[in-house]
Symmetry: C2
Subunit: 396 residues, 2 copies
């Protein structure tokens, strides 16, 4: 059983959030049938919020699911209702863009565990009438994907034309291609890995400890006390943000430039532009993100290990796949370096899957997948068009 709010775009919202004429349909569906989680627990009810762009064709064969990253959300191609910024993938998704909303029905859900409409630790636990906090179950990337699959059931979409995502979004793409093989015509895992490295776990642990060290975290119960662990979450975001860039990108962008001053102040002010930038990143993040969601989602990423789910043989995760894969990495991405994409490609080759692999030259670091990278866009455009032809969908 499900209940839903109709995807709708009231005029007063639409005026604010449209970008380049993109009108998202925004909705959410609440499922009362429990979701069986990887940890053995059942979650019910649960809600999945999503934005959709474009029109689903009569055959329901033109749907593309976009999977967002750790701190992303469903506002992929429209102005963000909180920050007012353009959608996080407006460069890639929209009318005439590489993922063309004139041709495809593009869906992006807020992930399970998130904080923008889907059920997560900030949601009300119907058992208690208060926010879950740390009583929310620890979820996995697989759980996020299973929740998305329930939404596809609800929408009557048997097979997604494509599942596309970068970073943690790429992990979801891989889980889709493994758990729901027959429902994925094409898969595009970008700047991602089949398992979370020791170093990445380490950075996440620093972020979690920063949140938990904040007295306003209150063992996860801050919402009940009407406070927010702003400082801790801000530090977590600052540490993580460094890993999204590259030393070259930081050097090119900031170098040792001073922030609106002629000389060092011999104080702990933000003398350097890079300090000012990071502080800004930290403080704006806490306005739009829930601290416990940050803990749960980083944990899900740390737990992600697709090989471990298949007897430590990654290829087994994909055995029998008929999907077409396009694996993309970026040269300066040190969070998910190219060698981790190559492992995915090798596993796919081992089961004779149809796979393309492209390493894009970029000095922008991990964040390259969100930026204006023409070679990347050309890769996505080419792959999508080629798959559309094979799927019998209209050409561009």
């Amino acid at each position: 059983m499900t209940s839903q709010t109709q995807p709708d775009t009231p005029d007063n919202i639409k005026d604010d959030i449209d970008v380049d004429g993109v009108s998202p349909q925004m909705g959410s569906v609440t499922f009362t049938d429990a979701l069986e989680l990887d940890n053995g627990r059942k979650l019910a009810p649960f809600t999945i919020a999503y934005n959709a762009y474009g029109e689903l064709n009569a055959e329901k064969s033109n749907a593309i699911l976009i999977c967002h990253a750790l701190t992303g959300d469903q506002h992929v191609a429209n102005r963000h209702p909180i920050t007012g910024k353009e959608g996080w993938w407006s460069l890639l998704v929209g009318p005439g863009k590489p993922i063309d909303t004139n041709r495809f029905y593009v869906i992006c859900t807020n992930i399970l565990g998130g904080c923008l409409g889907s059920t997560g630790p900030a949601s009300i636990d119907p058992q208690t009438g208060a926010a879950y906090g740390l009583t929310f179950p620890v979820i996995t990337i697989g759980d996020m994907v299973d929740a998305q699959a329930r939404l596809m059931d609800h929408l009557g979409i048997d097979q997604l034309f494509a599942v596309v995502g970068g970073s943690m979004g790429g992990m979801q793409v891989l889980e889709w291609a493994s758990r729901h093989k027959e429902r994925v015509f094409a898969a595009v895992p970008i700047a991602t890995a089949a398992w979370h490295s020791s170093q990445n776990i380490a950075f996440h642990e620093v972020g979690r400890q920063a949140v938990m060290a904040d007295p306003q975290w209150m063992r996860g119960d801050y919402l009940k006390h009407g406070v927010t662990p702003r400082n801790g979450l801000s530090v977590a975001r600052m540490a993580a943000h460094i890993t999204y860039l590259s030393e070259d990108a930081l050097h090119a962008k900031f170098g040792r430039n001073l922030q609106n001053r002629a000389d060092r102040t011999f104080s702990f002010d933000a003398d350097f532009q890079v300090e000012s930038y990071l502080r800004h990143q930290g403080s704006t993040f806490v306005d739009r993100f829930d601290a416990n969601s940050y803990l749960y989602i980083t944990r899900a990423m740390d737990y992600f290990d697709l090989a471990a789910e298949h007897g430590d043989v990654l290829a087994e995760a994909f055995r029998g796949t008929q999907s077409r894969f396009c694996v993309v990495s970026f040269t300066s991405d040190w969070l998910y370096p190219t060698r981790e994409s190559r492992e995915i490609v090798q596993a796919l080759n081992a089961v004779a899957a149809n796979v393309s692999f492209v390493e894009i030259e970029s000095n922008a670091g991990h964040d390259a997948f969100l930026l204006d990278e023409p070679e990347f866009f050309a890769t996505i455009t080419g792959f999508i068009n080629s798959c559309a032809q094979k799927r019998g969908l209209p050409a561009a």
Copy 2:
């Protein structure tokens, strides 16, 4: 004017701190004549604590100054009085070691701004009778070196046979070779750079924000309130510690291994060994380090830019040098990558300095300079012996 505590090694201490028969002479000197700081302020009085090993020869020509890194101290080759661990460079410094205390008089000072006997923000401000806290002046690497030079004056050492240091210790070596050229016969900057990169400033800023976000920091006045910002300093240490290693080292050491458990706990416990390790690094660090010292020393590193002190031309920092240089980097050090050592070498070449450069193959990351790296030890041994011969000191 100076006052001093005699270097002494009471038996009850010596039993605890000797390693491999190394008996440090531990002392401190308090200078009443002010130190003129780079920020224009004067600091008086100030104390420099130091350990010494071996014997100064009659000509006072066999002294080697070891400069410690951010979280190091003067306990270079003896058991640490707080942690009980072997000296941080016991592998390199001691009888028969590459820096041989049977032949050389080895000195290591706790740096100005430190917290193990030298004057720093935790010291009592004689003007107020309370700890300086944030009223302590913001110091520079140059200030640290000038304070060490005052100690050498006091000891009657006109010229150091060698100045050796890694990481921030290497920055001090470079300042010695620039500010006090005639007092340095040989200089060994290891795993370091002539300026602190944007990315390194960024990581330091995260650490400082973590400390300052801790309510027990109390705007730097925690000592007056009898508390310690343990949580914040611990998070700062955890974030920094990741940068001292390499992804390869972390992967080899921990991989995705679980900590004393068969499976994931689906909780926020330290499931992974790397999490447990980092938490341990954080919590033990706060037992031996002052949070404000951490702020001041990271700030000094961020401010370090030897070229900027010389009209943005690094070579000018070394013009006229007669010192012999041995520059060492490690392949997997991403905090101070080899290209930053090459910049030092190029600047030295530009002024026709006598310079050797060695890049050591290691997967241990920045911390390699503290570990058992035979090629590194061979490099130091060869360079020291060659310089000793030129200086007319006895052979090994």
